[in-house]
């Protein structure tokens, strides 16, 4: 068991190293010249040369890579062309808001996915309705859901706020609005944060929820046809107990794996939605960086999110193997 965990974590570290190589190569082939971008168009020849030497650009490629790696280990992700601040500092500022939004979205996606899966194996009218809902959910871009929410829930009905992660004057230390307010005992503030998060989180969560629901549904269907579920029924157990104790337990594995995968696929949606709702997170940061070709910012985001994603999926795998009695090493 310990061996399996070590091997899984080891491969995660390997992937992260591969990721740094990829990002380094992208940086090299990037169409923006870092010296030019940092110094601006009016810089003198001497200044350009001095800056290149400072960045180590005159050294061989391999030593540049180790220099880059060394910087990464020490938390140096470079300087953003746009904000003129260290990318690491920017990320520390923007990451919490995204983490909070992603967490709310993830909870929604899992909840909706479980609902989709459970209701669509039951058959009848409900299953048919859910089939249509899932088909539409899987075919609708998140921003269209956001548009609909803005037009109806904000503009027409005034139920939900349009932008930001808190109302003006809201009190919070970091980007974790809900968490900060909860810790400070400010239930009103936490509620305000949650209300702000509902529409963007739902817009992000819909597509992943359908993917999770589909996988959960098909694995649940397989389990419900299995011999041991027939045994459970032959024992005279109630259908609820059969589903809850025998079927679901053996069906969540694939759904869990899908959830881990969706975390990575969600990001394009996160960037779009944060842009729409002016949500001060990493997606918004990325969306701002793209039009001005702020490559250090984008590569920093890529490294941090990539590493986080790899680690989360490693943890999902490990959790799953711990839960399955058949895997023993």
């Amino acid at each position: 068991m310990a061996l399996f965990i070590l091997r899984r974590l080891g491969s995660a570290v390997g992937v992260i190293i591969a990721l740094t190589v990829v990002v380094f190569i992208l940086q090299k082939i990037s169409h923006t010249d870092p010296v030019h971008a940092l110094l601006g168009p009016g810089a003198s020849q001497a200044a350009i040369h001095a800056e290149s030497v400072k960045l180590g650009l005159n050294k061989p490629l391999l030593s540049q890579f180790f220099h880059y790696l060394d910087g990464l280990v020490h938390g140096n992700l470079g300087i953003s062309y746009r904000t003129r601040r260290p990318v690491a500092a920017d990320l520390v500022e923007f990451l919490p808001a995204t983490a909070e939004l992603a967490l709310v979205a993830l909870v929604m996606a899992i909840g909706l996915g479980a609902l989709f899966g459970l209701l669509s194996v039951r058959g009848g009218i409900a299953a048919r309705i859910f089939r249509v809902v899932m088909l539409l959910g899987a075919s609708t871009p998140g921003y269209l859901v956001a548009f609909a929410g803005l037009v109806f829930l904000y503009n027409s009905l005034h139920i939900l706020p349009a932008t930001g992660e808190a109302s003006p004057g809201g009190q919070f230390q970091t980007g974790f609005v809900i968490a900060d307010n909860l810790l400070a005992g400010q239930l009103g503030g936490a509620w305000d944060g949650l209300v702000h998060a509902i529409l963007p989180a739902f817009s992000i969560a819909l597509v992943p929820a359908v993917s999770i629901g589909r996988v959960f549904k098909s694995s649940l269907e397989g389990t419900l046809r299995s011999d041991y579920v027939r045994t459970a029924r032959a024992k005279g157990l109630s259908e609820r107990r059969v589903v809850a104790f025998h079927a679901i337990r053996n069906s969540v594995g694939p759904a869990l794996t899908m959830t881990g995968l969706q975390l990575g696929l969600m990001f394009a949606g996160v960037a779009v939605i944060e842009e729409i709702f002016a949500w001060p997170g990493i997606g918004y940061y990325t969306a701002q960086a793209i039009p001005v070709s702020d490559f250090p910012a984008i590569s920093g985001v890529t490294l941090v999110l990539g590493a986080g994603y790899v680690l989360i999926n490693a943890l999902v795998d490990i959790a799953q193997s711990l839960a399955d009695p058949r895997i023993k090493l």
Binding site: G14, L19, V22, I29, A138, S139, F147, L265, I290, N313
Partner: protein, 291 residues
Amino acid sequence: MAITGIYQSGQVSGGRLSAKVSEVVAQNSKASLAAALLPVAVTLVALLVPVIAPYSPLVPAGPAFVPPGHSGFLLGTDSVGRDELSRVLYGMRASWFSALAVIASGLAIGVTVGAVAAVAGGWVDALLMRITDVFLSLPGPVLAIAVVAALGPGLVHTLIGVGIVWWPFYARIVRGEIRALAARPHLEAAKMSGVGPVRRTLRHLLPGTLPALVVTASLDIGNLVLTLAGLSFLGLGAPAPAPELGAMSARNLTFLLQDYWTAVAPGAGIVVLALVGNLAGDGLRNLMKDR
């Protein structure tokens, strides 16, 4: 005492219901076939867009912000008076062909890598699969954004960026299917029959990966259309005047609350394309399951 009916459900009916069931089943497979053929129809329509579209997608055709259905503009006009319908149609055409292009390149790379890995085995397999795993265990959209940002914006660069992250799925599927098929007795039977390794691979192995690939690829049309729209929304696509669905929605976001159609109509175009992909994938899966 005697029971005539259906277990569990308690409905009392006999032959009538069974006739209905068989009708539904027959219709189902017909519907599946129709759904599976939808992409072909969409491709034909996409080819004909220059003929069908009433106006040019780039040149203003009337006043700005004409609401849908007025003055002959079915979907209205945008902020500079271009016909929204024509722009959406051209945008859909671009999205559709982009998605197909990425799938084609993904299949080409993925099938090659997966098949070579599975058939060669040993260190070739280990190396190719390690590379595939690295790509698979990185978040695709993030990587795609980084690639496009490095290459600079533009439709071709976006396609390259997405293409780079899209093949590993297919490589995995092909390798997995081939490995599973290779463990089946029919391969040993072919070997006993004296069939050589090349023919064994081409005739007894590869055709078996087709169903899984076809279903996955068609379900991917929807995913790709959505992913490309997202990137385009962020500005990673063809530059400004080009009719791109994601970018159109993004640029018209400011008009959402007053002139909603300018932002919503391109999104609806995406929904139509993604629906076609998802319906086709489901239909194909049903057809394959029946066989």
